[in-house]
């Protein structure tokens, strides 16, 4: 039995490479993130999604699992993003009274914000020498992931990269968004949610939902309206910026 230990290690590693193992790594990474978040006294830089992405990303690198295999193994987790997005109507329903007197500011701000996100991303990237394909891929990053993928595809950008940009800016927003809004002196909770949802979509909303229902509700609404605004504006703006 000289190979006993090696054999056992090999069996454990092979089991981790199965869909069940990869799902387990993802859930354990998420729980570790939640534990660290509590231990750090809810420090904004400790977002469970970030911890879990680092854990799962290192795991698939070490286990030599291709990302596509990981993605299909964890479809069970990703699936719930759809019903959870639908559920964003719930905090908004509870906060519906706060929509009064805010509808016009909300719509104007979201449309201006969507245009700003698209145009500034394209021009900043161009200014620093990025090619047109990369500019197109960056132009959709403020939209929620499925919208970013679909629009980037229609523009001729790189859809998987657009998904990564969207998720990265989402996590960044969850970490730094509320603090930046204090610096910008945006104090109205409705406006704070609206602003973060417009630039960091659902991931930004996920942090706000845990801290303040008004902010979370308006971030969720903003995510939806921004997806709509970017879908409508991008084909028009593309004629002008590209």
């Amino acid at each position: 039995m000289s190979g006993g230990i090696d054999g056992l290690v090999e069996t454990v590693l092979d089991t981790l490479r199965t869909p069940l193992g990869l799902l387990g790594v993802t859930l354990v990474g998420y729980q570790l993130g939640r534990w660290l978040q509590r231990r750090s006294g809810e420090h904004p830089l400790v977002q469970p999604v970030l911890v879990a992405v680092v854990v799962a990303g290192m795991a698939i690198t070490l286990l030599d699992v291709a990302y596509d295999d990981y993605r299909s193994s964890t479809e069970l987790v990703a699936f719930w993003l759809g019903p959870a997005t639908v559920a964003l109507a719930i905090p908004l329903h509870r906060q519906a009274d706060r929509l009064r007197g805010f509808v016009v500011p909300l719509v104007v701000a979201v449309v201006l914000g969507a245009a700003t996100s698209i145009v500034s991303a394209v021009y900043l990237a161009r200014w620093l020498g990025a090619g047109e394909v990369l500019q197109e891929t960056l132009s959709t990053k403020a939209a929620t992931t499925p919208v970013a993928i679909a629009l980037t595809d229609s523009l001729g950008g790189i859809p998987p990269l657009a998904a990564v940009f969207a998720i990265v800016i989402g996590i960044f927003g969850a970490m730094f968004g509320p603090a930046t809004l204090w610096l910008l002196r945006v104090r109205d909770r409705r406006a704070r949610g609206l602003a973060l949802g417009a630039v960091s979509h659902g991931v930004g909303a996920s942090r706000m939902l845990l801290e303040n229902e008004t902010e979370g509700a308006f971030a969720g609404l903003s995510m939806g309206l921004t997806a709509l605004a970017i879908s409508l504006l991008l084909p028009v703006l593309a004629l002008w910026v590209f």
Partner: protein, 128 residues
């Protein structure tokens, strides 16, 4: 739980069908969210209704559902390569500008239209 999840999936399906029929680029769940909102406003279900319990439960773990997409970063390191600087600046710059435009436009218009501003804690600490 299952009753509530069935409701959420039914609204998502309704959204998906709408998107397909009208050929929209907006995702089905976003349209489903609008339908659920209208439904909740019209029906005003009790606070412990299954759809509200299931939805609130899912939203508490919203970050979990983004992890599979987030791990895609690992696969994109190679593509980013030499273009890291324009990507970094465009991402952060555009994020900041978008945040400021939405935050300032909405609060500015509120004031302009004479609507009283909502709850406004003065400092991050008071907000807790």
């Amino acid at each position: 739980m299952i009753v509530g999840l069935t409701w959420l999936i039914a609204f998502q399906l309704l959204g998906e069908v709408t998107v397909q029929v009208l050929d929209l680029t907006v995702p089905g769940p976003v349209v489903g969210m609008l339908y659920l909102f209208v439904f909740l406003r019209l029906r005003q279900p009790a606070a412990d209704a299954p759809v509200l319990r299931a939805g609130t439960g899912l939203l508490r773990h919203l970050q979990l559902f983004f992890i599979p997409a987030g791990v895609g970063i690992v696969a994109s390191f190679g593509v980013i390569g030499a273009d890291w600087l324009p990507i970094l600046v465009a991402m952060l710059g555009s994020w900041f500008l978008g945040l400021a435009v939405v935050g300032w436009t909405s609060t500015g218009l509120e004031r302009l239209l004479g609507q009283p501003r909502d709850d406004q804690p003065r400092t991050p600490r008071a907000a807790r």
